[in-house]
């Protein structure tokens, strides 16, 4: 018997796909998240407040009706986020049952060490927070590694890194 990791459905031994949710149960090539060289900043930041960037002028205090976008630093592209209050970030790979809302595979996410479901951005009344989803290479906010599965506030102008892929947070109050 095989247990589908996605939906816990029981499958006969030798099955290649889950008959209930369609998830692939075997992998043709072992394409796991690429490990990257660890740096000093891998030590987890216990102090959440240190993480925020105080130098930028007047970040909007309320983000309820803010316009949130991501600035991919490597190529300067801006990705506007709209339509919901939570966005998962990651990259799309073959045979993946759950897809991220924001697919970063266009920005060499794989070689930069981005996991398939790497982190989630939540737009809340108090502001925007980021949570690492237990990614292989971790998430850093302004250079400090954050704990997985814990919300960290993130402000306008902050730079976070998924693996090595650096993204700047842009928050603008809608007029």
């Amino acid at each position: 018997m095989i247990l589908c990791p996605n939906c816990q459905h029981h499958e006969i031994s030798g099955s290649l796909f889950c008959s209930d949710c369609g998830a692939q149960l075997v992998f043709t090539e072992r394409l796991s998240t690429q490990a990257i060289y660890r740096t000093q900043s891998d030590i987890l930041s216990r102090d959440q407040k240190k993480a925020s960037n105080a130098n930028l002028p007047n970040p909007p205090s309320s983000a309820i009706d803010a316009i949130v976008s991501l600035h991919v630093i490597d190529n300067g592209e801006i990705l506007p986020l709209a339509g919901r209050t939570e966005f998962t970030l990651g990259r799309v790979a073959e045979g993946q049952p759950i897809l991220p809302d924001v697919d970063l595979s266009l920005y060499e996410a794989y070689s930069q060490g981005v996991s398939r479901l790497h982190a989630v951005l939540k737009i809340q009344a108090k502001g925007v927070v980021i949570m690492d989803l237990g990614s292989s290479n971790g998430t850093r906010v302004n250079g400090q590694k954050i704990m997985p599965n814990v919300d960290y506030p993130i402000n306008h102008g902050d730079v976070f890194a998924l693996g090595k892929l650096k993204i700047q947070m842009l928050i603008r109050r809608s007029s």
Partner: protein, 493 residues
């Protein structure tokens, strides 16, 4: 005895025919040539020859003796290359059920004995019920005429129309007087109900007039409605047609027709059904069908095999040409092999407990039979052997990419079948869940349009507890078309 004529040729069986094949060939020929049934004066002479041939070949001793006076068999094997891939190289010794997948690919390679395509013996069976009125009928007329214009001089065609009853619009003939034929087609009227059986029966009779092993005998049935009460009879007729070597393709227009029935009807002879969502698509499908038939190298390809006791064939799917599920029986009629093209089949076997004594599991052992219409003796065969050794501890190994790819598509098709069953059972929550899974996978494979259709359908089901009028067919034939190997996507509906 003139060269090339011998008892085998008279009965139309290959030199290595089994006693069973000789017997059935004899009965078939005797029925046709019997003086009571056949008034032709030559028939009596032929009838006697057939009996002579059977007398020798049915007796093992006489047959062996006869073999010694015959020149050595001039058997040109069918020019088919066989590629077989398994999802695993060996089977682990497990005291529980396990699955193994096999991808069988039969590819036609240049055959020195065959250089032209066989002629067609085609019958169009057209639904002329009231619902066909208007643009549908206009489209059918213009396409039938286009088809006539394409036919080669050696092809024969007949056109049968049906509603409550069937009529022969154009009796089986070569295309000679095109303008008169076109005139007849243009006079087609609609009216009445849909009774498919009458249409099929009349169509088969027309094909029968020119029935020959050196033709591609095929019936194309076009309908837009459900047939009531005569489905069983239709399926029996399809079975009869298949045993005569007549293939059936079903084209369904609109949303009223019964796709499950049409699939069954067509697949009993190795054919397939297709869904035409808009009248203007008809042209594409007919053209494709005509081209496919015109390029046939081997037809009536049949898998005849036996499996070990603990092996069960759970599913066979033809991936190419014309992706379609096939009935799980032995023998399985799997369709045609086109010149320089492949026929690929994905098979799923379930193997029960493997005991200590078993060293090798025979998934399927037997023969692949086929008819090569252009040869003097059309019947040909190749060996089929699907076996895997048993080991104590199997190392995990990645299955071949081609199997993974084919199966990922098949899994999607099955998800939609599952959802359909669940809707029929009234299990709406499960059905919508499966459709959502399906949509997610479609999106990840870049099939945005189909994914969108599936999501809209899931919403519809949640609200109305049934599929929208064309939703189920759109999803079924959409996911089915995904199974065509890359490069053939243009054939998608």
């Amino acid at each position: 005895m003139p060269s090339g004529t011998n008892h085998y040729v008279k009965l139309g069986v290959p030199r290595d025919a089994t006693p069973e094949e000789i017997r059935s060939a004899y009965f078939e020929a005797a029925r046709r040539m019997h003086p009571d049934a056949n008034p032709d004066p030559d028939a009596q002479e032929l009838f006697i020859q057939i009996q002579d041939a059977y007398e020798v070949l049915s007796n093992p001793e006489k047959r062996a003796q006869y073999e010694t006076i015959l020149p050595p068999p001039d058997i040109t094997p069918p020019q088919i290359s066989q590629t077989i891939q398994f999802s695993r190289s060996c089977l682990p010794r497990l005291m529980e059920a396990q699955l193994i997948y096999v991808l069988v690919e039969l590819t036609s390679i240049p055959d020195p004995t065959v250089n032209i395509a066989p002629p067609l013996n085609l019958c169009l069976v057209l639904d002329c019920s009231t619902s066909m009125q208007g643009p549908r009928m206009d489209m059918v007329k213009s396409n039938a005429i286009q088809l006539l214009r394409q036919m080669k001089p050696q092809d024969t065609i007949s056109i049968v129309t049906f509603s409550d009853r069937a009529e022969v619009l154009i009796p089986a003939t070569r295309v000679s007087d095109l303008s008169r034929m076109e005139g007849r087609i243009n006079q087609l009227q609609t009216g009445g109900g849909t009774e498919i059986y009458h249409g099929l029966e009349t169509g088969l009779a027309q094909i029968h007039r020119n029935l020959s092993g050196s033709f591609i005998n095929h019936m194309i049935m076009l309908t837009d409605g459900r047939t009531y009460g005569d489905e069983e009879a239709c399926l029996q007729l399809a079975e009869q047609a298949a045993s005569l070597g007549v293939g059936i393709s079903g084209l369904g227009i609109g949303h009223e027709w019964n796709d499950v029935f049409l699939d069954k009807l067509a697949s009993s002879g190795g054919g397939s059904s297709m869904y035409i969502s808009a009248p203007k698509e008809l042209h594409k499908f007919l053209e494709q069908k005509y081209n496919n038939l015109g390029r046939v190298y081997a037809e009536q390809v049949t898998l005849d095999f036996q499996s070990d006791e603990n092996v069960e064939l759970r599913c066979v799917f033809r991936l190419q040409p014309e992706a379609a599920p096939l009935p799980v029986t032995s023998p399985i009629r799997v369709g045609n092999i086109q010149q320089f093209n492949s026929l690929s089949l994905l098979m799923e076997f379930k193997v029960q407990n493997i005991t200590d004594r078993m060293k090798e599991i025979h998934l399927a052992e037997g023969r692949i039979k086929m008819e090569i219409p252009i040869r003097t003796i059309p019947t040909a065969r190749i060996h089929l052997s699907l076996s895997r050794p048993v080991v104590w501890n199997a190392e995990p190994e990645p299955p071949p990419r081609t199997i993974i790819q084919a199966l990922s598509r098949l899994t999607l098709y099955r998800l939609q079948e599952k959802a359909r069953e669940e809707v029929a059972e009234g299990n709406i929550a499960k059905a919508t869940r499966h459709l959502h899974y399906l949509a997610t996978h479609l999106l990840s494979q870049g099939e945005r349009e189909l994914a969108h259709t599936v999501l809209v359908e899931a919403d519809h089901i949640q609200q109305n507890h049934q599929f929208s009028k064309e939703g189920d067919k759109r999803i079924k034939y959409g996911t089915r078309a995904l199974m065509l190997p890359p490069g053939l996507e243009s054939k998608r509906p």
